[in-house]
Symmetry: C2
């Protein structure tokens, strides 16, 4: 079991406290397990109090022993339940007042209402965007974890080419990919922050499945097996000469990597091969143009322009109303980390960002083709962390 | 693709509207995807307005086409984004006032704050408990879905006994179970409502792994692969003569079934065999005593008493501080559905409830043994929906 290094946690808390100081906040209360993990190194049931100065206090409901083992924080105290937070802090001589930061994007309303009721001497402000922007810049340690997850993805994407056969259902391929991921050490969940957003950790979409729009903010969605989980692999059997797009995620020590490749048993229609080449061209363009200082929205528009000039503007990142307005997204503890390479994300690339770039083309009724790879932003430009060759993976059909 | 029958949706809305009437609420706004699915039959990005009288309005952001295909509701209208809800309702001549119900247990604070700001003429009340109590009573259709999920579990729990071998990692077994579940049609996610609660859909815990406490409110937790997902299978290799507890979930058309069985390569220590027998005795006791009218907390205390009288009180549902104070939980669209068979859940069993009962025994350092099965409450008592024989599954070790 690897724990988050003490220096990592110290630096994150320091950065967050500087930020609280800049915004004139007195403190923040961190409740969401992913954010608690980021600042404390544990997801045991707990709440984290971060004062603008001094040591944070991790209050742990369950399991205290594990939290003490996992977290390098100095002040870790037992907590009966969340409602005992005021008393627990008072016992330590801490009486929060002034402006307190809360994660208003994810904190359930009942906890917010309760907080306002018991901490009457505090005003509250949203710190979710601040936390997400801190988390957007990865340390060398964090990038290392994403590299480890990328090795799992490479193993799965390589191994599956020996397993994929005509007549298999998408679900069966999905199951194999999940099996490989777990066998290789994927931690078993892929977290997403957005309200009501959720994802299976593989999308296997063959032929027309790839062109079914979904509620996800992503180029492809898939039909799934039921309206209750309306995405991803379904009961469709994989046929010859149609694209099989596999979008694959895995996480190590919390950190997600995310990659897609296009498979085909037999041959693809020429137009889809051309679109796939365009996907490669867009990644090369992003590699050329992406460096600290590049505006995220500029990268998105360059990608759109490249797709258009190759004749694929209408099918880039979806078609019609369901065209997604981005070409990449941050990855880290959540698969919807910042930044976004989207039309309206006006921040600039910074060293330490890690971004999945996924130029894909969705052809109505025919399916989806394209690449997705993960890059870190270094001082000299984009450095690819995912390992698999950037080409269509052809599988020879079995003789009948 | 199976859609939720029109009559189901109609009855759910009718029941909810009766409930709104009883509580003098003018309407409710349903935002969470599981609840939207329950009342509308779709999880496309949307919000559902339910007036105390008259047709509900499903406002859909993405994908409108799929929502119209999936939902039998009559009034389905496009929605630009959540912030356009007031305008969208006004365009239909709807001006909400009076008391509006909201799902305060899951609704993010920022949406709650926004709601209060834009619907100034509404007061708000929490309707989450009401929705959970409506959802607690399953229709014949819903029970049928849980039966389908139970067939998947039976297939997996049976097939794995031919795959389990000494030296395999827990992760590899977990991967196989996931593969089988998906191949057989598991929808790919197992939803949990509780704040910060999350689960992988299999827990494979061998020997001492089964005795590691976790943040989950469950008898066993496991170490997992990382503090970032501190539960479930880990890198430990499965050895002879130790229990391998497999807790397995799958979902069909939204509905979850949940089952556990104990495997062993070779033989178990006698005390663990006895504890497993006690697990069976507790299930038999629950079957004998559970019927409409039985107090949920009484069932829990009967189980505790049976464990005690067999000499296993100290290890029932965990040990020491991490002993869980329940023996069963509802299953349905979420794995933490109501009711709870716990010390403080004072409701009575009602016909139509579906409950996973999981008497388990956790021995420090040795591991966890026990059964988990799903039952529906019928007029004449408990009827088991899960199919696997209620015994330890012995696997003959391979010759060296």
């Amino acid at each position: 079991m690897e724990y988050v290094p003490r220096q990592e946690i110290k630096k994150r808390i320091d950065n967050f406290q500087s930020h609280l100081r800049e915004r004139d906040l007195a403190c923040a209360f961190i409740f969401q397990n992913v954010d608690v993990f980021y600042f404390a190194g544990t997801i045991q049931t707990s709440a984290l109090f971060v004062p603008v100065e001094g040591d944070p206090v991790l209050m742990v409901q369950k399991s205290l022993d594990r939290a003490r083992q996992e977290s390098p924080l100095e002040r870790i105290v037992p907590l009966k339940n969340l409602y005992h937070i005021p008393r627990t802090l008072h016992d330590l001589g801490i009486y929060p007042s002034g402006i307190a930061g809360l994660e208003l994007d994810v904190l359930p309303a009942y906890l917010y209402i309760w907080f306002q009721d018991v901490f009457k001497q505090c005003q509250t402000e949203d710190v979710s965007d601040s936390i997400r922007r801190l988390r957007m810049i990865k340390s060398a340690y964090e990038t290392e974890q994403i590299k480890k997850a990328s090795i799992i993805l490479h193993t799965g994407l390589t191994e599956i080419s020996g397993i994929l056969r005509e007549g298999m259902t998408e679900l069966e391929v999905d199951g194999y990919m999940g099996y490989i991921a777990r066998r290789e050490g994927h931690m078993g969940i892929m977290r997403m922050r957005g309200w009501n957003q959720e994802m299976t950790y593989v999308h296997v979409l063959s032929g027309k499945s790839g062109s079914v729009p979904s509620f996800l903010n992503s180029p492809q969605g898939g039909e799934g097996t039921t309206p209750a989980m309306a995405q991803g692999a379904g009961f469709k059997r994989i046929a010859r000469n149609e694209p099989v797009e596999i979008d694959y995620g895995a996480a190590v020590n919390g950190y997600i990597s995310d990659q897609s490749r296009t498979y085909v048993i037999g041959q693809l229609p020429e137009i889809m091969e051309k679109a796939h080449e365009c996907s490669k061209k867009i990644l090369m363009l992003m590699e050329k143009e992406g460096r600290p200082g590049t505006l995220c929205s500029d990268l998105y528009y360059m990608a759109v322009e490249e797709a258009r000039s190759n004749g694929f503007g209408d099918v880039f990142m979806g078609y019609g109303d369901s065209q997604a307005k981005f070409v990449g997204h941050g990855v880290g503890l959540e698969i919807d980390d910042l930044p976004l390479l989207s039309h309206n994300f006006k921040s600039r690339l910074q060293q330490g960002m890690v971004i999945a770039i996924e130029p894909k083309f969705v052809f109505p009724e025919l399916g989806v083709v394209g690449l997705e790879d993960v890059y870190e932003v270094t001082s000299s430009g984009l450095n690819r962390l995912t390992l698999t060759d950037q080409k269509i993976i052809y599988i020879t059909p079995e003789a009948n």
